[in-house]
Symmetry: C2
Subunit: 206 residues, 2 copies
């Protein structure tokens, strides 16, 4: 089992550096000092490697969501959740960006439409609870708007970051994109909510 994990680790590193389509199975095997045959024993197809990495990303994100819901709803905690997800996405950037096979892979793992629905419903629940906690003030239209923008932003900030700001560090990038979203949330935040956003940024800069 150790070997499979090592393969995933090295493969992800190479995908991150050069992109999925630019990395061949021979190169992965060489980087691991094993043979192609051996690699094929563990992951018969290259897609199986990507699949395993996608699953890992997905399950890690789910853990972050679950952890969030154990806490009282607050914009501070919500930003922490986003930062964790952003960090996780960054670490898997190789398989999330410019990956033509990804769509096909998603359709093989699960019903993608259901995944999307769950994502939307997840943010809906979070925002509704933030409203109940008196951190946000949202009309129904505001809520739907925020959900639409959130689902897009939380997925594609990484694409822009990776294309436009290659030279920036992981932490700088996450901070940059978190600040934009924090600002967007502050538009709909109560005074209590704004204070909670402030708490997040105080903790970040310690």
């Amino acid at each position: 089992m150790k070997r499979k994990e090592k393969i995933l680790e090295i493969a992800l590193q190479m995908f991150n550096e050069r992109g999925v389509s630019e990395v061949g199975v021979r190169e992965i095997a060489r980087a691991l000092s094993i043979s192609v045959g051996n690699l094929s024993y563990h992951f018969p197809k290259k897609e199986d490697i990507i699949l395993a990495l996608v699953n890992r990303l997905s399950s890690q994100n789910n853990q972050h969501y679950q952890h969030y819901h154990l806490q009282p709803a607050s914009l501070n905690h919500f930003l922490q959740l986003l930062a964790n997800i952003f960090s996780n996405q960054f670490d898997h950037r190789g398989i999330l960006i410019g990956n033509a096979e990804l769509k096909h892979i998603y359709s093989t793992i699960f019903d993608y439409q259901i995944t999307l629905q769950k994502r939307v419903q997840g943010f809906e629940l979070i925002y509704q609870n933030l409203q109940k906690a008196n951190h946000l003030t949202l009309s129904e239209a505001d809520l739907q708007h925020l959900i639409s923008l959130t689902t897009l932003y939380a997925r594609f900030w990484l694409h822009e970051a990776f294309i436009d700001h290659v030279s920036m560090s992981k932490n700088s990038l996450i901070e940059k994109y978190m600040k934009v979203w924090s600002y967007q949330l502050s538009i709909f935040a109560t005074e209590e909510g704004k204070a909670s956003l402030g708490e997040y940024w105080e903790n970040v800069h310690e």
Copy 2:
């Protein structure tokens, strides 16, 4: 010259349907009823085809920007500009989505950082003029926020659309994503600005 254009037209159509990486030069040649050698005569590398399509997209978008600036600044005209750009992007979706080579292509055509700067400055100018025209009320922070979100949204709505809503028609998709952005603009719009947004949607539904 006729032949080159025909190649671009068919290639783009195939890229849109199946993605750049899934379409081979042999298939393009077959669809055109010419030989691979002949195709290579016009475009020595597959990348040259993509490059030509990227340039076409870029120059068409520039024309839309120029046309916008000939008109008085208004949110109505700005939405029209966005709709034109969205439409153009949709038509070139094959080369904009899931295209691992795109980043490399951009770096070969021009200094990409300068292109980015121009894009940001372009939106800055547009928003500043909309403020002068009394359609938007923006603090400096609002302005920067809106620019950040715009540059991201105007590029990646297409990715989300293509991944999540494959079955929707071009017009429905553009309307869906335009509505979200219209709502975002309305947050910062004056009464006059909101009326101008309303004008746009009246004309759309005629």
